[in-house]
Symmetry: C2
Subunit: 303 residues, 2 copies
DNA sequence: CGATCATGATACCGAAAAGGTATGAACTGG
DNA sequence: CCAGTTCATACCTTTTCGGTATCATGATCG
């Protein structure tokens, strides 16, 4: 009968694609590992690895099984942890990743509500650059994360919890600061400050798209990872930036914000891995429902 | 080390609360089972059962573990099945439960779209009385179901896919048939035909609520399980009924529908068990997103 | 109240399975 | 063609599992 150990062995081999190193990682010797994998393939009736010429690789069925096996192992381990935590009355620990923008918008209310309602849960909040959040949730590093809406990602469930418009941040002395509303065309030729694609892909994409709607490719003069740095640089008059409106809450001197015509909106979502058995996750997501953005669906839903 | 077999044993004992019968179900004798459970408790460091005087019962931690263990076992078995299916190129089988109302509204488009995009998936569609759907999904009988919105249910994720108003169905000769719009008050004293609470709790609830808003308790003269029967009986002039507007699509003779003032709306949701590893489920849910009801959230979401 | 029954735990044994070492087979690369 | 790498096989030892027999405890009933 197939058991969880064989799954662990399989994942180790699938991740290293090397029986020797996988065995090392599992603290067993190589021959038993080979035998267990062979037994697993025999019992499943499925070829998981392609063994051609000293190089192991996954078959399509193996890739499928790797995905599932990872999820099963995480659930399995979490189930054991849950039992121990439940025994001690600590219903759980919850680790939430978020990007800086959330710290000024949806996160504070959400965290406050949840922690008030669940005092026995230890909550870990950790700020990370937006681009790293999806992977961190998938790998189990975080139980949930607040990030820009990345569209559908395999293995992630998301729900929109905040939506805000972008605006233009600039130095008070900047010529464009005289206007109340600025159109995309007027940005042509202006030196922009923005995050690199890796740090916040969706935000960067929104900025580029908006510029294209004005008929030009944006000139990104400076790339910096942190949003705080972007606005400080704008306040130093080193360029202008398209930022979410909530950045105004930073209260930075020598910085003004102006409306954009047909301003692009950017959505914050809460993302989690379905199948995550952390008992504290579900109530947290339920709280997140309550802080949903201004959109009729949240009024109409009875849930 | 804890393994999947011990989890299976635990679930069997937890479900029967009887070591002897659990052992029988597992096709082993009782002593090894006792030993495995004891080992599991020792390795977890958690008391799962309260053994007092010939009666085994679950501790709170045991209940928690039972829930998780069931989910883990389902995922585990599905992972093995997935591997076999993937090997054969049949990416999957998907079984969908639905209530009769969905057959005239959201289901046809959804099923057609999904099957067109996933010809290799074998889809099983099965009609069931609405009240049985939630349990059928939780038990794994169906991968997903289309039902009336039951509000939050532990272990179920739901998404609204259809919303329609209720209307009044009556025989053309009925006095109320002369009016175009009927208020709740005017229904007072009228003999209603409706489903019993067990068959369609949410529908029944909506009807009762609407009558109360008219200041009276409804008189349900006839209770029948099937919606088709309800409208036939109305066509036989045995009473009137509050039914979803889409029932008109049945095209029944001697039946007319009239608008209700402040008509209650009833929502259809698609429900599934998060953690269900069936590879065909995710694409099906994605298709379901596309047939979301007339509500801004579906227009605004980029996903 | 004592005999009997029901139920889970313990003791002990043989069988199955897991892991370890040594070694073989197949391929690579100089 | 030989050394090196990498996975598979052979064989042995240890562990673990399930089975039978039996015990301890509390319930049930005449």
């Amino acid at each position: 009968m197939i058991d969880i150990r064989q799954m662990r062995y399989f994942v180790a081999v699938a991740e290293t694609l090397h029986f020797g190193r996988a065995a090392e990682r599992l603290h067993i010797s190589q021959p038993p590992l080979s035998r267990q994998i062979a037994a697993l393939e025999r019992e499943l009736g499925v070829h998981l690895f392609e063994r051609e010429q000293r190089r192991a690789s996954l078959t399509p069925a193996g890739r499928r099984f790797l995905e599932d096996a990872r999820a099963v192992l995480m659930s399995f381990d979490q189930a054991c942890r849950n039992a121990r935590l439940a025994e001690r009355g600590e219903i759980g620990e919850l680790s939430i990743g978020f990007m800086m923008h959330a710290a000024y918008t949806s996160l504070p209310a959400l965290a406050r509500r949840f922690m008030a309602g669940h005092p026995e849960v230890h909550v870990e909040l950790r700020e990370v650059v937006p681009g790293a959040l999806a992977d961190a949730v998938l790998s189990g590093r975080f139980d949930a994360a607040i990030m820009f809406n990345p569209g559908p990602i395999k293995g992630l469930e998301t729900r929109i919890i905040h939506r805000e418009r972008m605006c233009l941040a600039l130095h008070p002395s900047h010529p464009l600061a005289k206007r109340t509303t600025i159109s995309a065309k007027q940005l042509k030729g202006q030196p922009l400050i923005a995050t690199p694609t890796e740090a916040a892909p969706m935000l960067r994409e929104a900025i580029v798209q908006y510029c294209r709607s004005g008929g030009f490719e944006p000139t990104i003069r400076l790339e910096v990872e942190l949003q705080q740095t972007i606005v400080s640089l704008v306040a130093e008059n080193l360029g202008i930036a398209l930022v979410p409106e909530s950045m105004g809450k930073l209260g930075i001197d020598n910085l003004v914000q102006r409306d954009l015509q047909a301003a692009p909106a950017i959505e914050h979502v809460i993302a989690w891995r379905p199948g995550n058995l952390n008992p504290a996750l579900r109530p947290f997501l339920d709280e997140a429902r309550a802080v949903q953005p201004i959109q009729p669906s949240s009024r109409n839903q009875t849930r």
